[in-house]
């Protein structure tokens, strides 16, 4: 049988065919996926591209020539600066608030068996199952009935309200895979509930919380409908765009959009790296 090495038969025919076919098929899928990704990226590319355009008229549709002016003087359009600042303020505050509240709810849902988990889950799920326009409208009704003036506060309230659910879902998903023994081990080693939470639970679910926060931020800064109903005389960036779209969207709008996009992407990338590192760590003891 040691001699078998010399008499090795040539690779049988069908296998080659099979291999080729498999190859083709795998790459068909790949090709399709690339196309799909292009489709996803196309509008974004357009937006970014035209942020460098120097339109002849007030209309930024046809490519004229490359310029950086729009970036250097991104706030050269009346109102845009305030709207961006407002959007950021709202996004930050509501994200922090919603993440805090949502994380606690998620913890309760995953960690504790208590009566009324069903209803709780439902209450968390419903806002996501309600069209934005209804959320916005009903909130507006509330504020009208309460004779509460719409403005910054009402936008904040609204955003927290619809971000919470997303936070809960995101954090919950990650918590499910969390090894309870780690916390027990901590308590076993003399840490009380609080120390355990700070030293063990928090560091381990931090990535989950972080990505939940990122998601929340994205949703908040992107929201038009609900804000449209409850903004009063305030103007967030999406509202500004809406207004601008009535006449002509200046390239500066593309600039801001591109900037938000790039920053968000950067944040996500960092988070992803962070995640995968944590992921590997978690597996270490799993």
């Amino acid at each position: 049988m040691t001699t078998a090495a010399e008499t090795l038969p040539a690779r049988p025919r069908p296998s080659i065919a099979a291999r080729v076919w498999a190859f083709v098929r795998r790459h068909l899928l790949a090709a399709y996926s690339v196309l799909a990704l292009v489709y996803l990226m196309l509008p974004i590319a357009v937006v970014i591209l035209f942020s460098f355009n120097q339109p002849a008229t007030q209309f930024n549709y046809t490519w004229q020539q490359f310029t950086l002016d729009n970036w250097t003087s991104w706030d050269a359009v009346p109102g845009i600066r305030d709207s961006v600042i407002l959007s950021l303020e709202i996004a930050f505050l509501s994200t922090i608030m919603a993440t805090a509240l949502g994380t606690l709810v998620a913890l309760a849902l995953v960690r504790h068996r208590f009566r009324g988990r069903g209803p709780t889950n439902l209450l968390v799920f419903l806002p996501m199952a309600t069209p934005e326009i209804v959320l916005g409208a009903s909130l507006l009704t509330l504020f009208l009935q309460m004779r509460y003036p719409t403005g910054f506060t009402t936008i904040f309230i609204a955003h927290v309200m619809f971000i919470i659910s997303y936070v809960v879902v995101t954090v919950k998903a990650r918590l499910v895979g969390f090894d309870r023994h780690l916390e027990e081990a901590a308590m076993d080693l003399g840490a009380n509930e609080w120390t355990t939470f700070v030293k063990v639970t928090l560091p381990l679910i931090a990535p989950a919380i972080l990505s939940a926060a990122l998601l929340g931020f994205a949703i908040s800064i992107d929201d038009f409908v609900i804000t449209y109903f409850n903004a009063g005389s305030e103007t967030t960036f999406p509202l500004f765009v809406w207004g601008a779209a009535r006449v002509a969207v200046p390239p500066q709008v593309n600039v801001v959009a591109s900037a938000i996009f790039i920053l968000a992407l950067a944040a996500m990338t960092l988070n992803v790296l962070f995640q995968s590192r944590r992921g590997r760590q978690a597996k270490g003891t799993a």
């Binding site: 326009i133 009704t141 927290v160």
Partner: protein
């Protein structure tokens, strides 16, 4: 803290209280007010008074059946489209993405980070009558010489499809990513070709993702009005457009409120039907 330890049943309450309170006050209560308002009668000029005006609902349905049907039709088509577009892509990422997985995933969520309106405006620009896309389609005679995409149903539906694609793709990815590759090997070991293995194992196991994705896509799509507004014409207007204008322009609160509830109601009904089909636990997950 030892206190907590002794009264464990308290812990969940303390954790839940703030979040649920917020949802109760700013989600449930407003719906109550909306319901209240939907039963008022009167005009903007004379003001509105609560009179159990159930006819508002009848009027809402009879008066805007067109837009209602459209909303659910468009949302339905768009949902199916997102599924068809994103499934192969996500599948590829989950199973062939290797160490690029997370990066590729970023591409899928990327649209999230460009303001919804601007995304849509970008499409407005891409699909413009004088734009390259229409030009190309005219050249290959998919469109007639004076045919157009903008301000058509196609534009609106594809707008919705694009805007909600990530909502479908992400849950899909999660469920696909969790599938143990060894199950597929087992299937092939049991004489299932790659295709069969996909149909019999991968697909059923990704069902939860499909369910979640469908919900996250269909519901907001049914209530959307931006796409119809920016990419369509009055003939594409959806129920969202009506609610929006009744609320903010005509200030016809009762009608708007009634419409909102009709929309909600129809969505809930379709959810229940759907739940029947796929099992409830998958919905509230």
């Amino acid at each position: 803290m030892t206190f907590i330890h002794r009264h464990r049943w308290l812990a969940p309450l303390l954790l839940l209280a703030p979040g649920l309170a917020w949802l109760a006050v700013f989600f449930v209560v407003p719906l109550g007010f909306l319901a209240y308002q939907s039963l008022q009668s009167g005009t903007f000029e004379q003001g509105y008074t609560f009179t159990w005006e159930f006819s508002n609902y009848r009027d809402a349905i009879t008066g805007y059946d067109e837009q209602l049907v459209r909303s659910f039709l468009y949302a339905g088509i768009a949902t199916v489209a997102t599924l068809l577009i994103s499934y192969p892509l996500v599948y590829w990422i989950a199973f062939h993405g290797g160490r690029w997985k997370n990066l590729l995933l970023l591409f899928i969520v990327a649209p999230f980070f460009v303001t919804y309106l601007i995304r849509t405006l970008a499409w407005q620009n891409i699909l413009a009558d004088q734009g390259p896309v229409v030009g190309f389609l005219r050249d290959i005679h998919v469109l007639s010489a004076d045919g157009r995409l903008l301000a058509t149903t196609v534009a609106v539906v594809s707008g919705i499809t694009y805007n909600f694609l990530p909502f479908m793709a992400l849950p899909l990815y999660v469920s696909l990513e969790q599938i143990d590759a060894r199950l597929l090997e087992a299937a092939q070991d049991l004489y299932a070709s790659k295709t069969k293995a996909f149909l019999r194992v991968t697909l059923p196991l990704s069902a939860p993702g499909i369910v979640a994705g469908t919900l996250l896509t269909f519901i907001p799509a049914a209530g959307d009005f931006i796409n119809a507004q920016l990419l369509g014409t009055p003939n594409q207007y959806m129920i969202g457009n009506v609610i929006q204008s009744k609320f903010l322009e005509l200030i016809d609160y009762p009608a708007a409120a009634a419409l909102s509830f009709v929309l909600m109601g129809l969505i809930m009904i379709s959810l229940l039907v759907y739940a029947r089909a796929v099992g409830t636990e998958k919905l509230t997950g």
